[in-house]
């Protein structure tokens, strides 16, 4: 299978803080990969590095065969990588429809085409009845939906979702999991940063675990959950069991 995204030996420091160190992972086309780790592990920093908001101190990032390091965010988006932000950033003074149309204009400058494509994305995330609402008036889950619709309107091949489920209640999480599942079925490649383990287990077949900016484990959800390194990172040394099967 072809590789959609390859991150190789990427490092980023902020002053004395080593946010990401020699980080490598890759995502195959059509695959859903979850990036997990405790707070401050470097997950969002990795997203910012991939999408051009930060420039890595070392390493290379390629997507669909193109080097991304040095490109500004809007060009990376044009190449087919779309992201959402951990804290939703809607254009508050625009309507939901106008927000999503702004994304759709990337592929077609004609307003009536952009409007049509935006409506499709809005319908997909379940915001159709609120398309004329001001984005500033949306609830948390609707803001997340809007973020997703806006990203989808740019017609990405690779979608990077940064904690889209944080702060949602269980039934809202189920809805969100359903949406991500549908996108994966359409063949979209997805990288998801998430804390909600239930959601990760449901959507990802491959998990990458970060701690203090370094990759400490990688594999299927089952092997990762049983990995003593991962348990130590999340819960502390006292809980790490030498035998993975003990956690089953």
């Amino acid at each position: 299978m072809a590789e959609a995204l390859v991150v190789r030996g990427v490092s980023k420091r902020f002053g004395g803080l080593r946010a990401v160190a020699d980080f490598s992972f890759s995502v195959n086309e059509g695959e859903t990969v979850a990036l997990i780790g405790p707070n401050g592990a470097g997950k969002t920093t990795s997203f910012n590095l991939i999408t051009g908001y930060y420039r890595p101190d070392a390493g290379s990032i390629t997507a669909f065969g193109r080097e991304l390091v040095g490109l500004p965010p809007y060009e990376i988006c044009t190449l087919g990588l779309a992201r959402t932000f951990q804290v939703a950033r809607p254009f508050g003074q625009m309507t939901v429809l106008a927000n999503v149309m702004t994304g759709a204009f990337l592929r077609d400058r004609r307003p009536h085409i952009a409007r049509e494509r935006a409506r499709e994305a809005i319908r997909f995330v379940g915001l159709a009845d609120k398309e004329n609402a001001l984005a500033a008036d949306l609830t948390t889950i609707d803001e997340r939906r809007l973020e997703m619709a806006r990203a989808l309107a740019t017609e990405p091949k690779l979608l990077l979702l940064d904690e889209v489920m944080a702060g949602l209640n269980p039934s809202e999480i189920d809805q969100a999991v359903g949406l991500v599942g549908q996108l994966a079925q359409r063949g979209l490649t997805i990288v998801i940063v998430e804390h909600v383990m239930r959601a990760i287990m449901a959507v990802a077949r491959h998990i990458v675990v970060l701690d203090h900016g370094q990759k400490i484990a990688e594999g299927t959800p089952r092997t990762v959950v049983g990995n003593p390194e991962v348990i130590r990172a999340y819960l502390g040394t006292g809980y790490a069991h030498p035998h993975p099967h003990a956690t089953d």
């Binding site: 965010p73 809007y74 060009e75 950033r89 254009f91 508050g92 204009f105 307003p111």
Partner: protein, 321 residues
């Protein structure tokens, strides 16, 4: 049936065009011309300051460049201001490129301060250009009587119509931009630049492009103004007042809206002129104090601009009907 909106537009246009044929009072006509001119500058400023929220307080730079370009061409080379006005616009566009390249790295108040500095530097430069551009003394423009080919008119009516055409041009451009992808991109950049870039908006380019358009239009106003008052000096051409008025009429009227700057100018400009003529002869500064109080009241009462009152009322009526 012809829609009411079309009838209203045709009616308003007719009244506006016929106005100088009815109004013969020079003072009143002068106020009308100033309203049209400052509404025009406001609309030009609003494209960048209103839609994209790049609060420039240095648009006098382009006003002055337009004024000086056409005047230098007229006096030094005898070239008609009709050519000079376009040349001034082009000069302003060219100068906006390096200014934007420098200033757009800054955001918010820092951007505003940087633009003020640029306008001040240009003013100082023209103060020093004593041989080439008449230095601090400035110069009067040759009065050719009624010479429409040299953008000079016998009465005020000619200036009035020219200002009306300029305003219509700026409104038409804004209208087109507002409805196109560019309008969406400008507002997106104004709302959240990082989020806009995440969905493919080339923020540096859109800011540069709108700055070009805004600078071009503002320069046209500069040429018009010196042709109208027959005088130019650095303090008039690069007046900080021009920068402030451009922003003020938009903020008072409704920032980032098509008609906001027009409404703002209609309210502010005659107020300022009337206060000047009624209170100006009294104790110094009274008229400015009253003007400032009015501004404060408006901004406290209606921070998003006065246009909101009209649209709210319209929507309330529409909902009832």
């Amino acid at each position: 049936m012809v829609p009411i909106k079309t009838i209203a537009i045709v009616l308003a246009a007719t009244i506006l065009i016929a106005l100088p044929l009815v109004v013969k009072n020079a003072f009143a006509l002068d106020i009308c011309i100033r309203v049209l001119l400052f509404a025009f500058i406001g609309v030009a400023w609003n494209l960048m300051g209103g839609y994209a929220k790049q609060l420039s307080l240095g648009h006098a730079a382009f006003f002055g460049l337009g004024a000086y370009t056409s005047t230098l061409l007229l006096i030094r080379l005898g070239i008609s201001p009709w050519i000079g006005i376009v040349a001034g616009g082009v000069v302003a566009m060219l100068v906006s490129l390096p200014i934007g390249w420098l200033c757009f790295r800054l955001r918010g108040p820092y951007f505003a301060i940087a633009t003020i500095a640029v306008a001040q530097v240009l003013m100082l430069l023209f103060l020093k250009l004593r041989d080439f551009a008449w230095g601090a003394e400035g110069t009067t423009l040759p009065n050719l009587g009624n010479a429409p080919l040299m953008m000079q008119f016998g009465g005020k009516a000619g200036y009035y119509w020219l200002a009306l055409v300029l305003l219509a041009l700026a409104l038409a451009i804004t209208y087109r931009i507002e409805r196109s992808w560019m309008g969406y991109y400008l507002v997106a950049v104004g709302e959240d630049e990082d989020a806009a870039e995440a969905i493919g908006v080339n923020a540096p380019r859109i800011k540069r492009d709108v700055y070009l358009i805004s600078a071009f239009l503002t320069a046209l106003a500069g040429t018009f103004y010196v042709q109208y008052i027959y005088f130019i000096d650095p303090n008039t051409a690069f007046s900080f007042n021009v920068s402030v008025e451009a922003a003020l009429v938009s903020i008072v009227g409704g920032i980032g809206t098509l008609w906001g700057p027009v409404l703002g100018t209609i309210l502010l400009e005659p107020t300022s002129a009337l206060l000047q003529s009624t209170l100006g002869s009294g104790r110094g500064g009274v008229q400015l104090t009253v003007y400032a109080l009015i501004l404060m009241a408006v901004i406290l009462w209606r921070p998003t601009g006065l246009l909101g009152i009209f649209t709210d009322t319209y929507q309330r009526i529409a909902r009832r009907g």
